[in-house]
Every structure is written in C-alpha cells, then in structure tokens.
Symmetry: D2
Subunit: 149 residues, 4 copies
Amino acid sequence: MPENDAELEFIETQVSVRYAETDKMGIAYYANYLVWFEVGRVAWCKAKGFRYAEMESKDNRYLMVAEASCRYKAPAHFEDDIVVRTGLAKATDRVIRYSYQICSKNSGQLLATGQTTHVIADMNYRPSRLPEQYRKYFGLPCKGVTKYE
Amino acid sequence: MPENDAELEFIETQVSVRYAETDKMGIAYYANYLVWFEVGRVAWCKAKGFRYAEMESKDNRYLMVAEASCRYKAPAHFEDDIVVRTGLAKATDRVIRYSYQICSKNSGQLLATGQTTHVIADMNYRPSRLPEQYRKYFGLPCKGVTKYE
Amino acid sequence: MPENDAELEFIETQVSVRYAETDKMGIAYYANYLVWFEVGRVAWCKAKGFRYAEMESKDNRYLMVAEASCRYKAPAHFEDDIVVRTGLAKATDRVIRYSYQICSKNSGQLLATGQTTHVIADMNYRPSRLPEQYRKYFGLPCKGVTKYE
Amino acid sequence: MPENDAELEFIETQVSVRYAETDKMGIAYYANYLVWFEVGRVAWCKAKGFRYAEMESKDNRYLMVAEASCRYKAPAHFEDDIVVRTGLAKATDRVIRYSYQICSKNSGQLLATGQTTHVIADMNYRPSRLPEQYRKYFGLPCKGVTKYE
C-alpha cells in the first residue's frame, strides 16, 4: 500500500453541485464534501468489482467511519461539474482508509482533499473483520493461500 | 377530528435556521421545510405522551410518508427563529395526516403551511395498523370499549 | 400547454441514491425527493438550451418555489438508480409549474410523482417576469411578434 | 490561547438527532456532525455577544472553512439529545480555529471530537481581517491600545 497519495490509484466519478448543496455564501456547504467522499467510495467499490450495498445487505459488514477530514482549497459553485477521485490509502482486514481529491472538471483545479478512516463493523456496530471474499478488492492477500504455505 | 385547520390544536416547537439549510439565494432551501415538519411531528408525539423512536423500536410501527406538500409564503433566513406548529388533521388506525404552520418567532409572520399523510406500516414497509396502546394519542376510541357496546 | 401529465414532454436524468439520503428506515428520506426534483429542473433547463445558473447570475431571475408536493408510491433504496422525469406543466411569464415522475431505472416502477410551482422573482425575492430571451425555452410566444399584431 | 483542549472554555448548546440525519445503518450520518459543529459555532458567537449572521450581513466578513476534521467514537441515534461543546482553539485576526466535543446528554458519553479552521474572508472569498470591533470576542487585544504603546 503506497504511503504517499501521489502513488495511489484513484478511481474517478463525477457529481454536479446541487442547489441544495449550496449555502448563503453562494458556494457548496462544507459538510457536503463528506457526502461527495461517500459517492467516491461507492464508485471505488463498483470499479473494484463489488457493490457496497451488497457488502452490507448480504455479508453484514459495514465500513463505519472512525475519522474524516477535509482541506478546502477553492470553493465549488452551483452546477459546477466536480470530479471525485478516490484512492485506497490503507487496508487491513480491520481498518480501511481512503484518500480523496475533489477537482473542478473544467479547469482541473484541485478544490479539496480529504481522508476517511473506516472500521469494519457488523450490523451492531461492533468491530469485525473483512469477509474473505472481499480481501482481493482491497489488495489483501488471500488468507486460504497464506495458511497452507 | 376537525375538518378545518383553524380548529386544530397545534403543538409548537422551535428551530433556528442553520447555515447548512440556506442556499445560494440566501434563504432556507425548500426541501428543509419537510425536515422541519418532521421535527414538528416528533415534538407532537412528545407532547401527546410518547416517543416516536419507541413506536418504531418497541412496537415496529412506522409512519411512512405517503404524501407531502408545502406552500411557501415568505422566505426564512439564517439564524431566524422559526416556530413549527403541528396539528393532527386526520387519524384512523391506518392513515394519519398532519397539518403544519411555519412561522417567524419574532414577527409571528406565517412563512409556510404544509401537510403530510402517513400510512401505518411495519418494518417491511407493509401497511399495518396503529397498535392499540397508541390509539388514545391520536384521539381514537379505545377498541376494547367499542367492542362490548 | 397540456393539461394532463400524460401529454407532457418529460426530460430524463439520473441519480443514484446516496447513503446520506437514506434514513433509519433503510430507504430514501422523503425530503430528498424535492432535491431530486431540483436535479430534474436543472436537467430540464440544460435540455432546453440554457443553464439555470446563468439565468440567476446573468439575468437576475430566480425560480422561487411557491408550492411543492410529492406522492410516495414505493420506497427507493441505497445505490438504486433513479430516473427523474421532468415536464413543464404550466408556463406564463410570471409562474412556472413542473411535474415530476421518479422511477426505478431497473424495474421501470413509478416510485413517486410530484409538482413544484415557481414564481419568477428578482434577487430581492420580489415577483418579476421571465426575461424575453427565455420565453422560447418555456414555449411562450415571442413578445416582439405579438406586440405588432 | 490554550494549547490543550482540556483548558478550553467550552460553550454548550443542544441538538436532538433528526430522522433526516440518520442513515440506513440506523445512526446519524457522519457528515451531519459538521452541521452540528456549525450549530455549535453559532451558539459560541451568541454566547460571546454577537450574531454570526450580522458579522456577515453588516460587516461583510465570513468565517470560510479551510479545514474540518472529526473523530467518531460512538454512534448517535434518532431522538438522542446531543450536547455540542464549542471552544476557541486559536485566534488571530486572519485565522480562527474551533474545537468541538459531541456528547450524549443523558449518559454524558463523548460521541465525537472535531476541529474546524476558518480563514477570515470577504464576500468575494478573498482573505481578509477580523474587523476591529470583533477582536474582543475572540480574545484578541484591542488594536487601538497596542498602537499607542
């Protein structure tokens, strides 16, 4: 797992800033960036080959947020097309960390960066482990293989 | 049950307009009035003597929204103190309807009116009935009494 | 302008239900449908040939919401792909009304219908008129022509 | 200005978790904590003797968010009464930093901690300075006095 964001493989998805997401300052309200991070995570899962909704509904594992942070560099405006870039910054079978870059689609300008750290939990919010079949998506070695070496 | 809003008993609660709730027009975004209606319903339940959270968690009954409407008469601004007035417009053991008035606390001006209609549902979103012990809160006659008349 | 929704020309756009938009009942929270209506209006404007953001920033005209309503027919779940269909139900140079249909992309099922009514306003929330150059987008006859008849 | 949160003077305000703020995991969605931080900041300003709304409308100064972070320790549920504790962690006439503690009102349990860093900006989002008359609220020495020393 790369230590440095510059080496991360980023999955890109797009959102358009909604009127609902703006505030009286005329720009996107700061909490909405965390919603866009979520949109980025969902896109990352799809790009890797699974649906996060199914990880919850079929395998009873949840990526509970333990930490979130965002640095705001330039404002986003209504109807701006925004690229959400999501990279896996850390993965164990207990903790997952994502890095994000929020960019303007037109100018390419970096608008914000952020990170979220997640604990694998069960439906009762208790710490748990990533199910075996999801390890590959997160770049973790297959447990079965390791065991018999 | 009164036909006319003027005769309804309204339960009052207060919210202060959050920055997050404003939009680039400088006023509260229209969807947030439905959130305030929800705040009003929760206050109504408390005033009547029960917690809506317990109706869900202990009795597995949900007030699923079937219809919602709002008329916007004057804008609400950041930090405005808003009075949410909630009245029970209709109640059967299958359908509940609330009427709302959103007013400015300082001026008393009516900012918006609205209605929501709810179907009593179970946790699988299937139509259900109001549990016996909740009938009194909604002004419905006690079933047991009716039965032996 | 058709009286009946069945005759309306609907512009389609898509949203995917965000985790942020779900509630503890496991389905999309009712106020978010009004946000999706807004997404639909913005798409409608683009399809007609103008950006709503520019109507505000360049021409100082706002589509202030005067009324909104929604009928909820079936729930929407996290990661569901949703089609928002937006049609112009009424247009004068003072009042605009949109009709909406919210459908499941996969099943085609109708999840909700709704309407919003807007008053053309200036930046001070005062009633105003649709600028001449926007009349064509809303199917209104060109004023210049009418004048000399 | 204290370096350590333990020495900060915290201003307390209360919110009740709204249904709209929950997600399909049954708990408050993570981005909403940043909204509660905002509620905390507004309460902090009031407690200090000014309204943030007026700092914007009368003095054209905005506390633009440059950074935000949150650590989530325990979940918050629908209808939970939450205490938002807001303390001033840093203040210059260009940069303001707040620390937050989110606690359960009933149990006193610490649910989350966070920080936001703000740049004083004008209405065009350009870096600016805290107006003279606000310095006292942020514990900054009166400039006039310093000048004549």
